[in-house]
Amino acid sequence: MGFYGDRKLTAEEAKRLRETDIGPPHYSNFLHPVIKKNYGKWKEHEILSPGVMVHTAESGDKIWSVRVQTCRLIATDTVREVCDIVDKYCGGYVRWTSRNNIEFLVSDEKNLEPLQKELKEKGYMIGGMGPRISNMVHTQGWVHCHGAATDASGIVKAVMDEVADYITTKELPAKLRLALACCPNMCGAVHCSDIAVVAIHTKVPPVDHDRLGKICEIPTVIASCPTKAISPDPAKKSVKIKDERCMYCGNCFTVCPAIDIKDPYRDGLAIVIGGKVNCLRTPTKFSRLVIPYISNEPPRWPKVVAAVKHIIELYAKNARKHERLGEWIDRIGWERFFKLSGIEFTYQAIDDFTFMRETLRNQSTFKW
């Protein structure tokens, strides 16, 4: 039970008790004793199963981590349920990962099996370590964001259900990072993922001229447009958008609520692939566009799911060990990928923005 229990603070209390600029509590308050003791003195690790690894310190101490996938959006009662398990097996110490998974920290090997058993019984999904899929980074979607061209959690759930085997058991050539952003603002930092779903708007946003002049700064609106599609409309004290220059990024909408970017019929999903964050072997890679448009189909977005699955299986079959999806495609060539995958090559896949000169083929060599 929390410090103040069920009791809500009064406004006066709040004023009196509040303190600004204290920052987060120091992490050392929350470190498992074995971790605290061996902090900075780890020697090696071993991945024991798809969701369990052990780290061994120079001292010989060991800490086991059991990773459980979450859907990120979590009810407080689930947090409490997790806490109960953590108390039971982990001495009250737990962490979340950078991909929104839970890591149960176990210092007593004896607890390892019972913990896993209980987790499984309670329906938790253990996995995501090693050359597998781990949680799909994502954003707010219709759950909370104003600009979302799709729901985030919904697609993630549908995709992850489909690829569950690759989380909990099956291996891939290397780690495969999935992500989703619900608009091109890319809060999910989707641009360097092995496979990502990006929700896109596809219609030139209508402008509410009456409101615009009143609630938005015209120069800001004009400056917001990457393609200079927006110009002043002095007559209307508003702006006009040149249809053929707008590529629906929604940035004008972000800076000005009188512009409406959302369109239920036209909003949809694009699939971008072949990105990677780290610099192992090859430098950081961007995710690149392969499927420009799939209609929004809640509740389970079957085509998006099938597309992701299709690409994963192609990768699993063809890549070399340790080769990330993008490394594989960059090695065999994108023309070969399109052929192997049967994915239609579209105008949209040809860059006409910042990276155009770099991504066109300035060489007479390619595969048929």
């Binding site: 008790l17 509590p25 409490r80 950078s98 909370h144 104003h146 809060c187 972000t254």
Partner: protein
Amino acid sequence: MKKYETPLLDELEKGPFPSFVKEIKKAAAKNEMANDELGQLEYSFKTKRGYWKHGGIVGVLGYGGGVIGRYSDLPHMFPNVEFFHTVRVNQPSGWFYTTEVLRELADICDKYGSGIMNMHGSTGDLVFLGTTTENLELIFAELTSKEKPAHLRFDLGGSGSAMRTPSCCVGQARCEWANYDTMEACHQITQEFQDELHRPAFNYKFKFKFAGCACDCCASIARSDCSVIGTWKGPILIDQDAVKWHEKKGMDISREIVKMCPTECISYDGKELKINNDECNRCMHCISKMHHALKPSGERGATICIGNKAPIVIGTIISHVIIPFMKMEPPFTEFKELARKMWDWWDENSHPRERIGEVIEFKGMRSFLEAIGVEPIPQMIKEPRRDPFFFFTEGDIERFKKREEEEKKTGKFIF
């Protein structure tokens, strides 16, 4: 409480992966806000459209950020989410928690909010998903309350044109490869710049992420304006017995290690693995795959890369190397100074909504490097300039000319 039919969302309760619908329903069972969130979400699924208004500016006294204002477009249908702001709670470094502290946070979220959290937001915060305007001050007070013991006192994270909540990989807490203490760095930087975090005074957002090595387990290079990536200066130590162990375990050393080394600096003759350390670029491939046999040694520090941002307006930028090697030891004085110098330059040279990476493109690297007092070195680039026009200062030309005069005296060219 109103009972919503959710035939569409119900479809997402099926399947092996944890279901966010179950989570919302769990919260909805006892929370009106969560219940209306459920209803509105079902309506979004049905109509394929989001129903949130543009966020207005709401927050807590003395802060300019930490809260994202949200209002339903359909308050008549879903009155309990008419106000549904998120509160960003600054996570502890490395997302380590005790159950005590988790329960504390869960209680606050229940009491004043929807009982739904995001663990965690993409930037790193622990997010309370949905609360009303009037509850904001109460949440803040209960989070920070002076009455509570230090370890239970949380502060807000960042939003708006401010420094954003820094985050980091697990680092030395549980990883043998961390070249510096990512968690301590993250903590100290967060504490040092509380003002920059809470009171948006920049022209746009600024993010820090701290990764202990090139694996970059917090995606720093792709998700932060300032990406601090651990590295080392020294040879990779080789345990030849362990090499054999990996081989026995089925590793094809030639294919998996030798051939995949980007700098071709590993050789293996079936007996001994050799690394030409001078040519290694410390990519971590061999070390991570042969983790029992290889490990870095020597001096530790970090490479500081700057400039990453999301695609809008001029296309995605990945952070680029600015400082190839900086010692990263508490109290991180050099690093903090660097941050201040960067911000000063950024501030002076940017318009609103321009990230630092964009400004470096607009102004050129020289202006930036001179401002932060860093000399140009080839590690900053993948390759030199391709086009034959470039700026000179008067001083540059004079320097070149002076050197040429000296060369005439010594008879030796200096290139």
